[in-house]
Symmetry: C2
Subunit: 231 residues, 2 copies
DNA sequence: AGGCTAACGCAAGTCCTCTTGCGTTAGCGC
DNA sequence: GCGCTAACGCAAGAGGACTTGCGTTAGCCT
C-alpha cells in the first residue's frame, strides 16, 4: 500500500524490548511531548469507547477530544484499531499483576475475578475484541505473530506461548503462579488448562454478552480446573 | 435516505420468525432475482474472505466479483460487516445439524470435531469474529439482543439462551442432544457446561490462533465435561 | 395474463477519510 | 546553553466510500 510495512505497528512499545538493531534508524523521542500526546490520545479514545460502547470512532473525533491534530494521529497509528490495540495492550498488561494469596486455589480465584472485573468495565469487551483483531491482523500479514506455525505448535506442546503472541504476557504471569504452587507442593497445572478452563469461558461470555459471572460461577471454574489436576 | 429504518438488517431471515406486525409495510420479494443476488453476494464475499484472509473488503470489490451493482449491495446491507454477519449466520446454522451417535460421549466428541473443523476453514475465524461483532452491535444498539438484561439472566440461570441471541440456534441443538442423553439414562449435562467446557476453548484458540486442536485434545475436553457430570 | 411495485442497474453527485508538503516546536545528546 | 532533527501543527488536496434520483426489470398477487 504505502510501501512501508513496519512503522505503523512498531511504535507501540517505545522503550521496552530494544531488539539489538545494529543500524537502528534515527533515535526515537519517547519522553516529554510525545508521551503526552500518546497519553492524551489513549485517554480520549478510552473515554469515547466507554461513552459510545463500540470501537468505530472516527479519528477526527479522537483528534478533537484529545487536542492532538489529526495528522499526528494518522502518522503514529494510521487506524483507529491500532489505537485501541495499543490501549488494550497497556490496560491488560499493567492491570494484571498476578496475585499471591498463598494457595493455588486462592490465586486462581483472584485471577479469575480480576479477569472478570476487567471484562465488566464499560470498555472491557471492546478492548478484548481489539486484542483479537490484533491477533487476526498479524495472521493476515502472513506470519503467526512473528513465529512460523511449527514453532508455535512446539511452544504449545511444551505448555508455553510464543513471546510475541498477544496473550504472551498473561501466559508468563500465569506460569509464575503455577510454578509457585508447584514449589509449595501443590499440584502442577498446565498453562493451557487454566487458559481453557478459566479464561476461555470468561472471554466467551464477555464476547457474547452472557451475564452471570459472579463469584460462585468463577469459583466453580476454578474448582473444575483443580479437580483435573488432582485426578 | 430511504426513510425505511428496518429493511437493512431485517432481510436476513426472510420467512422465518414473522412477528405479527399489524400494519406490515410492503410485501417483500424474497424469491427469484433477489435470492440470486443475495446468493451471488454471499458467495463472492466468502471467496474474497478465503483469499485475503480478512474481512476488510471494499464493497466495490464484492460488487465486481458478484456482478451485482454497488448500489444494490449498499441498499441491502449498508456495510461489509453486515454481509459477513449474514454469511456467518447462514454458514454456522446450516452446518450444525447435531450428530446422534448413540452415546453422549460420542455426540459431544462429534460436536466438538465439527466445531473445530468449521473453525479450521479458511474463513472460519473471520466468520466467528463477524458473529462476535454482530453480538456487539446489538449491544451497542441499546438492547441485549432484543431482551433486557434481567430476562437474559433468567434464561441463563435456567440453563437456556434467549431466542434472538447469536448462539441461540446452537444452544437449541445442544439441548436436544443433552435431552437425548438424559432419556437414555446417561447423566444430564447443563448447556453452559458444554459451552464453557468445549465451545469456549475452541473459540479462544481459534481467535488467538493457538494450534493443536487435534482429536486427542478435543477428546480431553469432552472427558473433562463428562467427569464433572459424573461427580 | 396483466397490473402493481419491490428490487435492481446506472450515473451523477456528496461527504469524509486519509495523504502530502512544509513550516514550527521541542526532545535529546553534547 | 546550543545544535540537530524527531515529532507535531497546519492547510490544502487526492481518493474512495457512500448516497440519491430516476429509469428499468421482474416478483408476486389476482
Amino acid at each position: 500500500m504505502t510501501g512501508n510495512q513496519r512503522d505503523t505497528t512498531d511504535d507501540h512499545e517505545p522503550g521496552r524490548a530494544n531488539r539489538a538493531e545494529p543500524e537502528s534508524g534515527p533515535r526515537r523521542r519517547t519522553g516529554g511531548r510525545s508521551a503526552r500526546v500518546r497519553e492524551a490520545v489513549l485517554k480520549a479514545t478510552a473515554e469515547l469507547i466507554a461513552e459510545q460502547g463500540h470501537e468505530r470512532i472516527p479519528i477526527a473525533e479522537i483528534a478533537e477530544r484529545s487536542g492532538v491534530h489529526q495528522t499526528s494521529i494518522y502518522r503514529r497509528w494510521r487506524t483507529t484499531n491500532a489505537i485501541v490495540l495499543d490501549l488494550s495492550q497497556e490496560r491488560l498488561t499493567s492491570l494484571w499483576a498476578v496475585p499471591d494469596t498463598g494457595s493455588l486455589h486462592g490465586d486462581l480465584l483472584a485471577y479469575a475475578q480480576r479477569a472478570a472485573a476487567a471484562m465488566a468495565e464499560p470498555d472491557g469487551a471492546v478492548l478484548l475484541r481489539a486484542l483479537i483483531a490484533g491477533a487476526a491482523e498479524h495472521a493476515a500479514a502472513g506470519d503467526n505473530a512473528g513465529v512460523d506455525a511449527e514453532s508455535v505448535a512446539a511452544y504449545v506442546d511444551a505448555g508455553n506461548i510464543p513471546a510475541t503472541h498477544p496473550l504472551a504476557e498473561r501466559g508468563r504471569d500465569l506460569l509464575d503462579m503455577l510454578d509457585r504452587a508447584a514449589s509449595r507442593g501443590e499440584p502442577r497445572l498446565r498453562l493451557f488448562d487454566v487458559l481453557d478452563g478459566i479464561l476461555a469461558p470468561i472471554y466467551l461470555r464477555t464476547l457474547f454478552r452472557i451475564p452471570g459471572m459472579d463469584d460462585a460461577y468463577l469459583g466453580s471454574l476454578v474448582d473444575k480446573c483443580l479437580a483435573h489436576a488432582a485426578s
